[in-house]
Amino acid sequence: MLEPLIYELSTPGRPGHRFPDPDVPLADLPEGMIRQDLMLPELSELEVVRHFVRLSQLNHAIDTGFYPLGSCSMKYNPKVNEDAARLPGFAHSHPLQDPSTQQGSLAVMYSLQDWLKEVGGFAGISLQPAAGAHGELSGILMIRAYHRDRGQPQRNKILVPDSAHGTNPATTTMSGLRVVELPSDARGNVDLEALRAECDETLAGLMLTNPNTLGLFEERVQEVVRLVHDNGGLVYGDGANMNALLGVVRPGDLGFDVLHFNLHKTFSTPHGGGGPGAGPVGVRDLLVDYLPGPVAAELEPESEALPPLYGLVMPTKSIGRVKAFHGHFGMHVRAYAFIRSHGKPGMRAIAEHAVLNANYLLAGLRQSYRVPFDRRCMHEFVAEGRFEGVPEIHALDVSKRLMDYGFHPPTNYFPLIVREALMIEPTETESKPTLDAFIEAMKAIAEEAHSEPELLKGAPHGTPFGRLDEVQAAKQLVLCCRPAELERAAL
């Protein structure tokens, strides 16, 4: 074990902090509420710090290395975002304060809504949803409310392409609607014939990711949108791949009725274990009244003497509140800082460099890896982790071997329409030398797959832990943290 559990580092009686003697009488805890079985670890502050710093050093993070995890936009999270989020006026504010005392926070929310409206081409934004899938749920509930409101509750069918994120069908089912899967055509686009066949009076809408999860721009997106609209449906946009579009194409202009943004992807707030996500939704005018709320609004315009007065308002036909208080406000501040530090021209540069970097990697890897649907990619692409003559090598083995070269693996086995999928997304923040080093590592692994396949099967060799037993990990779930003694006793 490289680092023991914190319970194993415990020394009975060792305090982390010594409290001053009380100057008031002590109140004893009620007898029946004192537990002896908690076995809380007892360590000094220094021991705690060293334990967690050591653990953090076992990890791979965007701050330690390249992280080309497709569909996740693992870009650098600028530290100025953290500075902004820690400004005392933001960090120490409380959502139950009187709005007159949180005008600065409300102004940030209002301005962020404005920016997202602008880059998305939308009429309204709600910052409430806590993450991407939560934004999806909010969006589909809005579509459902819209149809019911218009006396068309029979519209209960949501079309989802087979290249969609797995959350799309899950969202639909959770909203009480019906999922119908649409196949992709030979170029990786939505199959228009299959779409036409599903256009009937039960159509509630279509969920579309553009660029799709193959990293390809839907070449006939406007025709797809028109078909759905002509048949009374609405179009939901999964904004997970907005990094390819920023400042270049606005989903609202393409006809998308609602779209979620992933602030933790496109707008550089921490992703994964680094912090909570945030999944604001943007809508065209026909859905503005249905937005989850409250949303930030300008209650009184700026005058000569006073700045504008901001407040929170509930849209008239809102699907309701989907998150406590203001959503993940700390993430709103970080995303706002990111947007303001790039400005308008910077938004477009983000997309251009993200797409350029992905195409550079694709060009460098095309000779060593099979690429189905090989056409100009957007911010990511999908290659196959399998090789002629060595059927025992899978995408997982390529990924594990990459860790020995110091890189985080790409997304594996997604989308499902590609065999042994390796989904690679470099983002805009990586330099050419980093991309070159990654290409070299991938080429070396492709050669090893033929010359020394056991090197891949046994990988990783140089990480703190070797190959983990994924089957056992999935079957024997340990769902809560308990002291090691109890855990062992339970087995």
């Binding site: 797995g166 059927p391 899978h394 594996n412 086995y413 499902l416 065999r419 994924e470 089957v471 079957k475």
Partner: protein, 131 residues
């Protein structure tokens, strides 16, 4: 890859073994190989329930992906392979035997004509990269 001759196969990788008006249903060797190690099996129907051809009867999850199992034939569910819930790996080790999933009473035997025999199914999987 194993393609027993006494079974009928669906393009969505389920197999059916017909005995009189009863059918046993599972997923093919190719399907389990594509999914890799299975970690979860759940029947989505109950004994006595009627399913139409194409309707879901179970959910599978592997370390790679989740997949629906659809019945290629219509019928009434007679039995569910209960041990699979605790031992989904049986689908990997014995897809045509102890890895079976449900048994049905067929309501329309003419549907069987739409399914593939083993040589047609083998050609079908080879076109999709099967071995």
């Amino acid at each position: 890859m194993n393609y027993p001759a006494d079974l009928k196969y669906a393009g969505t990788d389920e197999w059916v073994r017909v005995e009189g008006d009863r059918a046993t249903l599972g997923v093919s060797d190719f399907a389990q190989d594509q999914l890799s190690d299975l970690v979860f099996f759940e029947a989505t129907v109950r004994v006595g329930e009627r399913v139409a051809a194409g309707e879901q009867v179970a959910t599978l999850e592997s370390v790679k992906a989740a997949a629906d199992v659809n019945s290629p034939v219509s019928g009434e569910i007679l039995e569910i392979n209960q041990p699979l819930a605790a031992r989904p790996e049986l689908v990997n080790t014995d897809p045509y035997g102890s890895g079976w999933m449900v048994k049905l009473k067929l309501t329309d035997k003419s549907e069987l004509a739409a399914l593939m025999d083993n040589t047609a199914y083998q050609r079908n999987t080879e076109a999709r990269g099967g071995r």
